[in-house]
């Protein structure tokens, strides 16, 4: 049964500490000086020990997907001629997520649990141990378009905690967590979700062939620097590459690791024989954007993009996903008229 309550700061911290004793808690944190530019901070997902450490009001630069899909992961080792799986186990882990990021999990699940008809065991094992706590959005951020993407609301969380002027409000959806909240007054607490996007977005209904040869991509080639930040910050990008890495202690028994890949950076589309068929930055962008807004959905029935807006925020060239979708819409509309 759902429980709602308000807590003062001490109560909330006590509850949190008790939870943190039993779970690893990963949440947005403002890391001073960790920004790319000198004397700037980085808000990103980190393990936290207290509620006070959590940055509730800012969006994270990177998503939380590395909890489920570490940037680098040892898959197995070749031990004297046999492939031996490395069984890393993730302890039960709570991740504080916004609605869009909770929706992103469905994309990851589709890819790692369903696609090709077989589960990715590494992902699956972590996914089982992951619990979502909901972060409320302080109204839409400038770059958000979750309402357009249908990812602005969710019920798929165990606990919702909101900092208030004095203390915190909490909503416990998952009974397992009730015991951490033995105090507090019952009160109406419900997360507020974004109702409207700053700039609403409509996805194209049909992608015309004319789109692929459109001059817009050449323009984007001039702008996009193919740095891959849109991928590395995205909560739904899942591409990886695989590499054998010598063990430090035994060069005869390498480990096979997988490592995040990015369809924007070099060599992603390199064929054997060193031919890369997708070099123009605009083409790489088109490949990514169409995946996010149409291609993925054709296979899995839901759009890949959750409208979190991170790719807009992290792009050093201020290329906007929303503008790109708009451009695509325009081209397709024009194509449809002509065709």
């Amino acid at each position: 049964m759902m429980k709602t309550l308000r807590l003062d700061n001490e109560q909330a911290e006590n509850a949190f500490r008790a939870i943190a004793d039993d779970y690893t808690v990963v949440a947005p944190k403002r890391c001073a000086g960790r920004g790319r530019f000198s004397d700037t901070d980085l808000t990103t997902y980190e393990t936290v020990e207290s509620l006070g450490e959590i940055e509730f009001s800012a969006k994270t630069y990177f998503s939380a997907k590395s909890v489920l899909l570490p940037i680098r992961e040892v898959m197995f080792s070749f031990n004297r001629g046999e492939a031996e799986e490395v069984r890393t186990s993730m302890p039960p882990t709570i991740v504080f997520l916004r609605a869009c990021d909770i929706h992103a999990l469905a994309v990851l699940d589709a890819m790692f649990l369903e696609h090709g008809g077989r589960e990715d065991c590494y992902y699956a094992r972590r996914r089982e141990n992951m619990i979502c706590f909901l972060l409320e959005c302080p109204g839409p951020f400038d770059e958000c378009f979750c309402v357009s993407m249908g990812t602005s609301r969710t019920k798929d969380y165990a606990v919702f905690i909101r900092p208030e002027a004095e203390g915190y409000a909490a909503e416990i959806m998952d009974d397992r967590f009730e015991r951490y909240f033995p105090f507090g007054d019952r009160a109406h607490v419900a997360p507020r979700f974004s109702e409207e996007d700053p700039i609403p977005v409509a996805l194209p209904r049909h992608v015309e062939a004319s789109l692929f040869a459109d001059a817009s991509w050449k323009e984007y080639s001039q702008r996009c620097i193919a740095c891959g930040r849109c991928n590395t910050s995205c909560p739904t990008c899942t591409c990886f590459t695989v590499q054998d890495i010598p063990a430090a202690d035994d060069r005869d028994s390498p480990t096979r690791q997988r490592i995040w890949s990015s369809c924007q950076v070099k060599d992603f589309s390199l064929l054997a024989g060193n031919h890369d068929f997708r070099l123009a930055h605009g083409d790489k962008m088109r490949y990514r954007v169409l995946h996010k807004i149409t291609d993925f959905a054709k296979t899995f029935g839901l759009p890949m993009c959750v409208g979190c807006g991170r790719c807009d925020i992290v792009c050093p060239e201020y290329i906007s996903m929303r503008k790109c979708i708009e451009t695509i819409n325009t081209i397709c509309r024009r194509g449809a008229e002509v065709g």
């Binding site: 790319r36 930040r229 890495i245 950076v265």
Partner: protein
């Protein structure tokens, strides 16, 4: 009628136009509250010819003022001078008398990390600290601060150039092997990075600590470690022998930078050729030898194990002198 040397010591110019001067305003690091612009305009229109010059050292020069007006001008400028200098920690006994010295030139700085993405630190803040360390002082000294090794401020032509660097810290667990850092370093810098066994190795012997690997990394595998400073020594332009400054101290902390700046004047005062109106520090070092300079300016400073002190060779050229 007027004591030209006294006038110049107060940072006014002796103009080519008889009985005229130009007001000079120090702007440490070139950064200024916009409100002062009204004072500067007023000075130019009340006392000058209505124009201002942005100097080669990021200060102002207001031409066409009358020598007879210098006293009134000093009083007019007092509040602004105090605002600017006292904010740096400079002690001014009587701002209404104008600037107390002009020997140490305005401390120059690029815009630094308040705006620029390449800058490794707050150049403006350091300029203000250095202003406090070296001003007021009558000995001629030019210091410039640049946020990164690109050296937009041209620290390479200053007596002392401070170049902001950063120690890149590498977390291989965040590296996706895109080699953006490496490609950039190879193309634009010193190829200090290599990629082996799917991880970056940074060669300390070649790395300039410009920090561009941090800027290029899409995952934050490279992040910002300690801010360190390269201190360049001995650059100058001039008619006879323009030459480039070169590394004197590598990996200095800001304490070392400020300590050296504080020691400079004592060195100059001890060894300057008194017969000359102004002798540039580079020439003094040429005379005293580098070791004397080094022991003077490093006195009282504790250098950590990473700090390297080297003797610059100062490449340049000489306009030949008739034998």
């Amino acid at each position: 009628m007027y004591d030209t040397k006294a006038i110049m010591r107060k940072a006014f110019r002796i103009s080519k136009v008889r009985n005229e001067s130009a007001i000079r305003i120090r702007v440490p690091g070139g950064h200024l509250d916009a409100a002062h612009l009204s004072v500067i305009r007023e000075l130019a229109e009340t006392f000058g010819n209505g124009t201002v010059h942005l100097t080669t050292r990021q200060g102002y020069e207001i031409p066409g003022v009358k020598l007879t007006d210098l006293g009134a001008i000093s009083r007019h400028m007092a509040e602004m001078i105090a605002d600017i200098e006292v904010a740096c920690g400079v002690v001014l006994e009587s701002p209404e008398d104008g600037y107390p010295a002009a020997g140490t030139r305005n401390v120059c700085a690029c815009i630094g990390n308040r705006v620029c993405r390449f800058a490794n630190f707050d150049t403006t803040a350091l300029a203000r600290k250095i202003e406090q360390a070296i001003y007021p002082n009558h000995t001629h000294l030019k210091v410039a601060i640049t946020g990164c090794p690109n050296d937009c401020i041209k620290a390479h032509l200053h007596d002392i150039g401070i170049v902001g660097t950063v120690v890149p810290e590498y977390d291989p667990s965040r590296c996706i092997g895109c080699e953006a850092c490496l490609d950039n370093c190879k193309k634009k810098i010193t190829n200090a990075l290599s990629f082996e066994d799917f991880a970056i190795t940074r060669d300390e012997d070649y790395c300039l600590r410009c920090g561009e690997c941090i800027l290029k990394c899409p995952t934050g595998a490279f992040s910002r470690g300690k801010k360190l400073y390269r201190i360049l020594l001995g650059g100058r332009t001039g008619k006879r022998n323009p030459r480039l400054a070169q590394t004197f101290v590598e990996n200095a902390t800001q304490d070392i930078v400020l300590g050296i700046c504080r020691n400079l004047h004592r060195f100059i005062a001890t060894y300057i050729d008194q017969s000359k109106a102004k002798e540039h520090m580079g020439y003094i070092i040429d005379r005293t030898g580098f070791d004397t300079f080094k022991s003077f300016v490093l006195e009282g400073l504790t250098l950590g194990p990473d700090v390297k002190v080297v003797q610059p060779t100062n490449p340049g050229y000489v306009y030949p002198r008739r034998p």
